[in-house]
Amino acid sequence: MAEIAQDSGGGGHKKGDKVRSKKMSTRIDFTPMVDLGFLLITFFMLTTTLAKPQIMALVMPEKDIKKEDIEPVKESKVLTLLLGANDKVYWYEGITDAKLDSTDYSAEGLRKVILDKMNKVKGQFGEEDYEDFKTKEPRKGSFINVIIKPTEEARYKNLVDALDEMAICKVRYYVILDVSDLEKQFIKNPAGGLKFNVEEQIQAATQ
């Protein structure tokens, strides 16, 4: 474009003029080079900041639990999730006369189950006051206790999804435990009921 403009600006040749060799400018147009430079800068800037992966912190209970450290929790506050095969979640409330039900990991599935239970717990026990970990703002929390028990057929995504629901529903008390034989039986035969012996469980955990 610049050359065309120069040509028209210089006007036409007069008759009889000698044809002089035109002096070429040694200047190089740097614009495309700068374009490329900034494109690459943008690329490297974005990739360096985006490369950091997200993490989800997880704290497991300690291996050696002492019997005197065990603090009983009211049955009606407890919701147990059994993560089963084929992206299915089995769940039951409390221990006594527990009814096994199943759902999926969608917002209408597991989330609804947890929120319903939270409402129930709220109606019975009220809400807990606590301070937000980061902002130090006072908050209202539920007294719900969720036990997550992935079975052998579950896949890793199921565990992360379940933990994610804890974060979404703001469940403050949850733990990952191994599934017991009793519960395996319970999944196979829900009508048989869950015969949980609390004393036996404490004995097994504190060994």
Binding site: F44, A51, M56, L58, R155, Y156, L159
Partner: protein, 221 residues
């Protein structure tokens, strides 16, 4: 008096300075950008709403592939060098100085200790095709579990480096597993960590939108 003619044609700007700045920045970003280390297995992580980023400090990454095989990776060349020197003398692996340097640059590995020498002698491209059984985990006896041993020694090595002032932080545990990794494989790793008193660790996830935030934004509108 000379005539002042108005200059015709396109005004040209000197781009040299701008180019200088652009390429200076480009060089800076290229040098600071960490080359993504090659991982032993391709892992497709599940998504979560968590927005916490991986900390800058040193990490021990336990990779669990979709087939349940376990791989280990730790940051810091100095720590790795110290670690392999320690492990080499303790288990008499017979690694040469050169092989130890190779280990400190190797990235993730999933090989039993006994085969480590053979594996290190391969070229990086050959390592990709080498059949890796994963780092052995003994679920019954933690003292025989190589995974537990590696992590335990790596943490000691990192602590040593911290005392020498080579590194600033102690290791942070990171578990990176595939969506389809069967839970027992993850369970074995978690149990191993709990057995050696590592109760706090981080699961790597990819991002997903938070339904709570979406709801808040919706109500504001």
């Amino acid at each position: 008096m000379p005539k002042h003619k108005p200059k015709r044609g396109a005004p040209s700007v000197d781009m040299t300075a701008m180019t200088d700045v652009a390429f200076l920045l480009l060089t800076f970003f290229m040098l600071t950008a960490k080359a993504k280390p090659q991982e032993a297995v391709v892992v497709d992580t599940p998504s979560s709403i968590s927005e916490t980023k991986l900390p800058e400090s040193g990490t021990i990454t336990i990779l669990i592939g979709p087939d349940g095989k376990t791989y280990l990776d730790m940051t810091g060349q100095h720590t790795r060098k110290s670690l392999i020197a320690d492990v080499n003398s303790r288990y008499k692996l017979g690694l040469t100085e050169e092989e130890q340097v190779k280990f400190s640059n190797a990235g993730s590995f999933g090989i039993p200790r006994a085969q480590l020498k053979k594996w290190l002698d391969l070229s990086p491209s050959e390592r990709n095709t080498f059949p890796t059984p994963g780092v052995p985990i003994d679920t019954a006896d933690v003292n025989k579990s190589e995974l537990a041993d590696w992590i335990h020694n790596a943490r000691i090595a990192q602590f040593r480096m911290k005392q020498e002032g080579v590194v600033k932080d102690e290791y942070v545990m990171v578990v990176k597993a595939d969506k389809d990794t069967p839970y027992p494989a993850v369970q074995h790793v978690i149990n191993t960590l709990v057995d050696i008193n590592v109760n706090k660790f981080n699961l790597i996830t990819s991002s997903e939108s938070d339904p709570n935030k979406k709801a808040e934004e919706g109500s504001e509108k």
